[in-house]
């Protein structure tokens, strides 16, 4: 018989740490326990200290540390002298949401810059054209027929879509019996035709959808809850967030980018294996948001130059751990 007898720390924080190790994850650390006289429970707040190692293909790497404090809590109620019960604790899925939201807050400006940089291209990407299909239908019909009877777009599948086009100034006549093109849409059409950037009505529709996706991204994602096309923005954002921290366009492997992309939101776990992620990257290369050189993924200098100006804001919750 092997019996190993050990002595453990005898604090509430130590028990909360045990809870963390079993159930949450090792990037979560407990703060000091504090008694809440109103709830009559001890509370141990949880922080997330997330190392972000940025590894270049040439082997060089730097590590940064995201510090997201107070993202959860473990509550302990006293059940007798020195006897406590964990009565409530932030769930793992809730912690994921909290950390992802904090990361999103931190990178809002970078996201905004990427949305602008991709404006001309978003409408050409496959997830955008699949999930924002009603926008193409409306724009194409308006361009071909001159106007579209409102009854067509009163059907459930068009709910909200025409409003986006009206609010962005591409269509007019939402309260009347038909929708028609505005000067903005007509001028866009003329410009594309003249500059040979597009020669068909569908080219114009792609351009309009790109502009709507760029300007109304938050509505599409958070209110209309259309998530698949946000993968393009997330993957691009993950690359440039690292590049900004590193301070230069870094060559990284696709595997590395995929790994970090998955961290941004668990929804992607359902959608992307590294097999399908390659196509997503290729689309971003086609959209001139990323570059691919042999096996390396690189940033586009023009995009990098713009996002690099946002470094100061990003670094409010990020410190460099090692070089």
């Amino acid at each position: 018989m092997t019996t190993v007898e050990i002595a453990e720390l005898d604090t509430l924080e130590a028990y909360v740490m045990k809870y963390i190790v079993y159930n949450l994850g090792l990037n979560i650390v407990p703060k000091k326990a504090e008694f809440d006289p109103q709830e009559k429970v001890w509370k141990v707040a949880l922080d997330a200290l997330v190392p972000n190692r940025i590894s270049r293909k040439d082997g060089r790497s730097r590590t940064f540390l995201y510090n997201f404090d107070n993202i959860g809590v473990v509550k302990l109620e006293e059940r007798g002298e020195n006897v406590f019960r964990i009565s409530d604790a932030t769930k793992a899925s809730k912690l994921d949401e909290m950390i992802t939201a904090r990361f999103s807050d931190l990178t809002t400006e970078i996201e905004h810059e990427i949305l602008i940089a991709g404006e001309k291209s978003w409408g050409k990407l496959s997830w955008v054209s699949t999930f924002l299909r009603p926008l193409y239908h409306i724009v194409t019909n308006v361009l071909v027929r001159g106007e579209v009877p409102v009854r067509y777009i009163q059907e459930k599948e068009y709910n909200g879509w025409a409003d986006l086009l009206i609010q962005e100034g591409f269509l007019s006549g939402g309260d009347t019996k038909s929708l028609s093109a505005t000067n903005k849409l007509t001028k866009l059409q003329e410009r594309l035709f003249k500059s040979h950037e597009g020669s068909t009505d569908f080219d114009v529709a792609q351009s309009v959808v790109g502009a709507v996706f760029s300007k109304r991204y938050s509505t599409i994602k958070n209110e209309m809850r259309i998530y698949a096309p946000t993968s393009y923005v997330d993957a691009t954002k993950v690359y440039y967030t690292d590049a900004v921290q590193y301070g230069e366009i870094i060559p990284i492997s696709e595997e590395e980018l995929h790994k970090k992309f998955i961290r941004v939101g668990m929804r992607q776990v359902l959608t992307y294996s590294d097999f399908s992620f390659m196509t997503l990257v290729s689309e971003l290369v086609s959209a001139k948001l990323l570059e691919r050189e042999n096996d390396d993924i690189l940033g586009v200098p023009e995009v990098f130059k713009n996002v690099m100006q946002l470094k100061e804001n990003l670094m409010t919750n990020v410190t460099e751990a090692s070089t």
Partner: protein
């Protein structure tokens, strides 16, 4: 180091490399391979490639890092043993099966050691570093994964948590600790740290040591109720399921 007890770790057979975010699954893999060598009857693969795949699919898929629950759920096993996370084709959408990353299930939280595939994962928050030698002095020695902030330990600068496998500790003469770091493959030997500096990096992680040992009637880990121990913390009502 001659009189210091150490983990009989064989680099060519037990070492599993980790990369960014992979340190805990790598350490678990090393501990599992160590036990598989000693107890071939354990339903664990001995092929290092299986363990590399385990490391890949359990590395940080979320910012909060890896939990023991996730590790045990994804632990590889011998073909005749069903994996704990085996996904039935009827119960899961196709996209999940295509993914390398199993969906995180929300399960009732626990404070009890996690068992599966013949192994137990048992995290302890040790009183201090003098407890570490206990695992190495037992027969057989028990692998302990130590969680520390290695940046804080070495440079007084926070780097976040990192997991290493305890190789040996010389608390009396040299005051050194010897650690197997999954990120330092090319070293091919334990790296040495001053014990005092180790303690500085270990403290923010509440002196966490994750013990990995076979579920066997002749191995027992007890947290002693020595004189200073007063607290009892539990999750469920006593007697509840």
């Amino acid at each position: 180091m001659s009189q210091v007890k150490s983990l009989p770790f064989i680099w060519d057979r037990h070492f599993v490399k980790g990369e960014s975010g992979d340190c805990v699954p790598s350490c678990v893999s090393m501990a599992a391979l160590y036990w598989k060598d000693r107890m071939p009857e354990l339903p664990l693969p001995s092929d290092p490639e299986e363990w590399k795949r385990f490391v890949k699919r359990t590395s940080d898929v979320s910012y909060r890092g890896t939990s023991l629950r996730r590790l045990m759920r994804n632990m590889p096993t011998t073909p005749e043993e069903p994996a704990l996370n085996a996904l039935s084709s009827e119960s899961q959408p196709t996209s999940v099966q295509l993914s390398d990353y199993p969906v995180e299930q929300e399960e009732p939280p626990t404070l009890e050691p996690i068992e599966g595939h013949g192994l137990v994962m048992d995290p302890k928050q040790l009183k201090d570093s003098s407890e570490l030698d206990t695992f190495l002095s037992s027969d057989p020695p028990i692998p302990a994964i130590l969680v520390l902030d290695i940046g804080l330990a070495q440079y007084n600068k926070k780097w976040g948590s990192h997991a290493v496998l305890l190789h040996s500790v010389d608390a009396k003469t040299q005051r050194k600790i010897y650690l197997i770091d999954p990120m330092l493959e090319s070293l091919r030997e334990p790296f040495t740290m001053d014990l005092r500096r180790f303690e500085i990096g270990w403290a923010p992680q509440l002196n966490t040591a994750i013990l990995i040992y076979p579920k066997a009637p002749d191995i027992r880990i007890t947290s002693s109720k020595r004189d200073y121990v007063k607290l009892t913390v539990f999750m469920e009502e006593p007697g509840a399921n």
